[in-house]
Subunit: 706 residues, 2 copies
């Protein structure tokens, strides 16, 4: 169900249909008819009469039974009343093409809210307003309720576009590339139906084998994440999210009424959800093409077959740069290749058949290489040489593909664009690219999807925490109107959450100091806290590296003696006894709150390097255990943690546990707006991560309202 | 002159011309005739008779006067005797298409050496062997002595390809893109003519306005650098260097007889020489197209004009990601745009004219934006909307370009490939791309050329050095057969070169220690050197942070007392008195020798971070002063040197001086194979860079041979 009324309607009414050429009301009706919609089409126009050979109804209320979908192209001010009529007539599906809503601000925004409320109240579903329409190419439906430039080509892509114009442009280009789609939804202002509705609708739709998204904003990140994480395991989801740069985001915010979230948050969200992110339309198309024509491979070992050395080298460079392996072709395969290729050919990977290779060599070489169990994917390069035609080689590859559907094959054809033009009029079953970098990137996407499907789903663990203790600290700060907790309070919250913090306490006598130090563990640091702090250094107010009880007693007595000599004894409040953490590796972790995506967990290398080298990464909270592992491994500094240069390895399970605990804090207490643990020291002694300094900021009002 | 005999011949002989279709000897002759060579063409074939309607000469010796170029397509074994005949007949230019030389190894290599020697001995110039041929599209020449698939399109590119097949493929695609070229040389095995010969030949050739190179190896890096550095100031040089990955390099080494140099060395060389490096053919073409149709801009401020919001956002993202600025459009310009654009349009950059924009709006908007002094380059985006034709908008842009030749304009046309097909048959004066990322990258290349042209040439300074002292250290090590110098020797060599090293010396008495410490400067470190080193810690053999003479005397006496008490006094050889350098910032610098490119200077962040974060960069020696500045600024850690987080800034002039001095050492003494200064500490006191530890490796035989 969900969107069946809209995408698989029995009959469609076009409200605002028109006889006037080059109007949307005319174009859209024509399109519906031209593409051969399988149900009835009813034009609605107050003037009645005949439009495009069909009787026009003067109002929605007159329409016959069985209309599931009304496509509305009337002026914005008539949209609400039209929806009322549709509701009265029992029409459950709406596509509102009309503009003049949220994107115009002020009154338009109010109008849109009223529209959305009406749709909800009547149990209807609506695509738009301010959109390009919808398409379903299923031969039993053939619905083209869209005013894009070209008629659709059928295929297996489900495509959602937030930008109407760009969506139309993309449909154009997909057609040109001979990449067909199953269904298209231009969500426009997404007042009701949005990308998530589409994801859910397509989850089990056998017509849709991959999902493409063009997005400028993600209105409900948590729901998007939940759906995308689940559905991307079944079919690839590929997204182009525009508005990456600050300037681009500012341009996006004035476009289609969207407000761009910070890009690093969006990037983290897509990564965690298994969505393949593309940075350009070109890459989006390239990826769509490979998913449309190739299976998911079993591994990342690529074999290259070429009739020219130079392109083979460039392809090898590209395969390596995209993080895959050059397949180690077996000796048996080499011997087999050697048996028919000329002496000047090279039978190691890349296999260079040399310029004289006839069609027969292409066939035998590709089949031989495909049969090698060391090979997961095959890239076939063709350069035009006298006698051998591009289109013949392409045909041969498609025949081979039909016999060997289990391994991806792509073609790199450095030939004239005529060839690609020719392809666009054929039934193509192998993706062809002009350049080896495009083919390598396409393989990389297949491999990415393979890895994602194999990735364990992970769980968001619930660690036991001392909630009451943490809450009482938050409440105390909020009661005083303090947004920022003190270091002491922040570390105590972390301790309550089960994060290992630097142990410390205050002692007011030698006996207390000794007892505390025994609990904290030697070596320790002793810091005087006094009302006359300005004299701290004169008396040795901070004493580091105290190794045992005897030394502690000596230092304590010495401190008191010095204070007494200077007449400062009565200012003394006590001494802080603090665990002394020795560490060559400082990390930083914490919580940042993105206005769109909510709390994110940050992790990276600490110290001066945070700012300069920016070796930090983010994930959206809550983290699964797998997210935490990936977050740690996504920074370069992870090698330091694993024990580079003879350092003892960090206790990675405890680093993960730390991230999971602050993620739980962030997720369950949204009033925690910021947290910085800086440094999180990796102890030189045993590799344990210890929070030495921390700072938490809260939403005071939210805490008060608890 | 130089290559005039080859590229501007009066008459051409084809030696090995044939009547048999689909042979190179036939195809090549046909091509020469078909393309309308302006001079005489003489086929040579021992059988005589007539070939392609021309009288065939039975031998080279029979040829009439005035033949400047012989294109040789005979079997490899007849090439040498053919060259003898050419020499006897006074022919100075040769293009040897024939394969069977160096690329086959063994005997082929010897044959090639004999061929090259013969060419030199006779004062001839030769392109090839094992090549595709040469082309000159100048209307007074019209030489197509090449067996690529398509006839050439005239333009202003000089193109050198090391791979014959790929060269042909590139010519094909350039034709498809309607990007013409002036001259083409397929250098093949480059036994005589190579990329450098072509660079020099084209330096002052007005037909050639940009130079494209496809390279797999750079045989003479020093000469390439000299020529490219000079010529790239006059015209852009764009290179695709394949064999970047280890696997790609290994594939390259078995291809066209080349041996791939390490890629980071090649990358440094191209950077220093002002060569624009492309990583894919796609980018090579994209760049060629923009240089062929745009002037070099005055700055990097880009304005975007679009009829659709989404593509405007994506273009903005791309402009920012390629490191350029979004032009801050002036208020006057905004007011002017506001005067004719509809209310829903956006007049800030990107300027969104909205989908309804007619041709007239394109014209006025682009002209208005072009006139803004805050704008250096304009990207115009078109998406097809009802009524407005792509080809009309393209025509309008070309008209505007004719009136405003001073600022680059590019078109991003997200339309059908038919449009680009149409363009390929027109005279095009504006570069059109399908995607905004391509256009942004093209602008980035224009900007890169602008910056290179503005970059001072720099000088390789000659610092005074104590050559004799350095040489005596090298010779002493070589005499002992030691490839590796000791730390002490290495630091002394650096000192002789004028590099600031950590001061130290050996003292044998308290008085000597005191005197030495005064010279070294407090604070100092005192290290005992003793035959009984195993007891070093027992007696406090290393004493750090000695602040003044009094403390030194106390520590010295204490050391002696402890040694005496343990009966170890007689083992004492002396104490090393060493300057104590305090530093939070460790750098690493040195010399590495690339087998192809020779000595390179390395610079980066030191400590554990070298291996993990790989924040290091390379330049080929000798460095100019500008190279040294750029090398330092090319690592991320430079921010630490500039004084991030309140640290005192490093003395950058002294860091530069250090690099220049080791570059001078590397350049003038090629027997220095490796040098590591690790760490080069930046003193916390005054920011001075100080070499604290160093290691030099030499070529012992080369030093002995001095």
């Amino acid at each position: 169900m969900l969107l069946d009324h809209i995408l698989k309607p029995r009959a469609v009414a076009v409200v605002g249909a028109s006889t006037r050429p080059h109007t949307i009301g005319n174009d859209l009706l024509k399109r519906l008819l031209e593409y051969g919609f399988k149900g009835h089409v009813y034009p609605v126009n107050p003037k009645g009469g005949e439009i495009e050979g069909l009787r026009a109804y003067t109002s929605v209320s007159e329409l016959p039974d069985g209309v599931d979908l009304a496509v509305i192209v009337v002026n914005a001010k008539f949209v609400l009343s039209t929806v009322d009529e549709c509701a009265a007539r029992g029409i459950k599906g709406l596509v509102v093409i009309s503009a003049g809503f949220k994107e115009t601000g002020g009154e338009g925004r109010e109008l849109e809210e009223a529209l959305a409320a009406k749709v909800r109240a009547n149990g209807m579903r609506m695509v738009g307003p301010n959109c390009l329409g919808v398409v379903n190419t299923n031969p039993n439906v053939r619905l083209d309720a869209c005013f894009a430039e070209s008629l659709p080509v059928a295929g297996d892509i489900g495509f959602v576009s937030q930008s109407g114009a760009l969506g139309g442009g993309i449909l154009n280009i997909l057609k040109d590339l001979n990449v067909g789609f199953a269904q298209f939804i231009s969500i426009g202002n997404q007042a009701d139906v949005n990308a998530e509705t589409a994801l859910e609708y397509w989850e089990n739709d056998p017509d849709v084998k991959q999902i493409l998204l063009y997005m400028e904003s993600i209105p409900d990140p948590a729901n998007f994440r939940k759906l995308a994480t689940r559905i991307s395991k079944k079919k690839p989801i590929v997204a182009l999210k525009a508005g990456r740069s600050a300037a681009g985001a500012s341009a996006a915010s004035s476009h289609t009424g969207s407000l761009a979230g910070g890009d690093r948050a969006a990037d983290a969200l897509l990564k965690q959800s298994g969505v393949i992110r593309e940075m350009s339309l070109k890459d989006l198309f390239s990826t769509a093409k490979v998913f449309a024509n190739c299976p998911i491979p079993k591994g990342d070992r690529v074999a290259i077959v070429t009739n020219s050395g130079g392109p083979g080298i460039m392809a090898t460079d590209a395969v390596c740069e995209f993080g895959m392996q050059m397949a180690p072709i077996s000796d048996e395969t080499k011997a087999e290749l050697r048996s028919f290729l000329p002496a000047a050919a090279s039978v190691k990977n890349p296999v260079d058949m040399i310029a004289s290779a006839p069609l027969e060599h292409y066939r035998r070489t590709v089949e031989t290489v495909l049969a090698d169990p060391n090979v997961d994917m095959v890239m076939v390069i063709y350069l035009p040489f006298l006698g051998l035609k591009d289109i013949d080689v392409a045909g041969e590859l498609m025949r081979i593909r039909a016999d060997h559907p289990e391994k991806p094959i792509v073609g790199v054809f450095m030939t004239k664009s005529e060839f690609f033009q020719q392809l666009s009029e054929m039934k193509v079953t192998v993706p062809f690219y002009m350049y080896s970098e495009e083919a390598a990137e396409a393989f990389c996407r297949l491999n990415q999807q393979r890895l994602w499907q194999a990735r364990p789903e992970g769980v968001v663990p619930q660690r036991p925490m001392d909630e009451d203790r943490a809450l009482s600290i938050f409440k105390a700060a909020a009661a005083e109107g303090r947004r920022e907790l003190t270091t002491r309070e922040s570390l105590e919250v972390l301790d309550a959450c089960g994060v290992r913090t630097c142990r410390s306490g205050m002692a007011h006598s030698e006996a207390e100091a000794v007892e505390l130090a025994a609990r904290v563990g030697y070596p320790i640091v002793m810091k005087m806290t006094s009302k006359s702090t300005s004299h701290k250094t004169d008396v040795g107010g901070v004493r580091v590296g105290i190794a045992d009880e005897a030394q502690l007693r000596t230092e304590y007595q010495d401190l008191l003696a010095k204070l007494e000599a200077k007449g400062l004894l009565e200012g003394l409040e006590g001494v802080i006894i603090q665990e002394m953490v020795k560490s060559k590796r400082e990390l930083v972790t914490g919580i940042a709150t993105d206005p769109q995506m909510g709390p994110m967990i940050m992790f990276g290398l600490g110290g001066v390097f945070v700012e300069v080298l920016k070796d930090v990464a983010f994930r959206i909270a809550p983290l699964t255990d797998i997210d935490a592992q990936e977050l740690i491994r996504s920074v370069k500094a992870v090698k330091l943690l694993e024990g580079a240069r003879g350092m003892i390895p960090a206790q990675m399970d405890k680093v993960e546990d730390t991230l999971l605990r602050i993620s739980q804090l962030a997720d369950q207490h949204r009033f925690v707006k910021e947290l910085d643990i800086n440094p999180l020291m990796v102890s030189d002694k045993d590799g344990e991560p210890i929070a030495v300094d921390a700072r938490i900021a809260i939403d005071v009002d939210a805490v008060k309202a608890l």
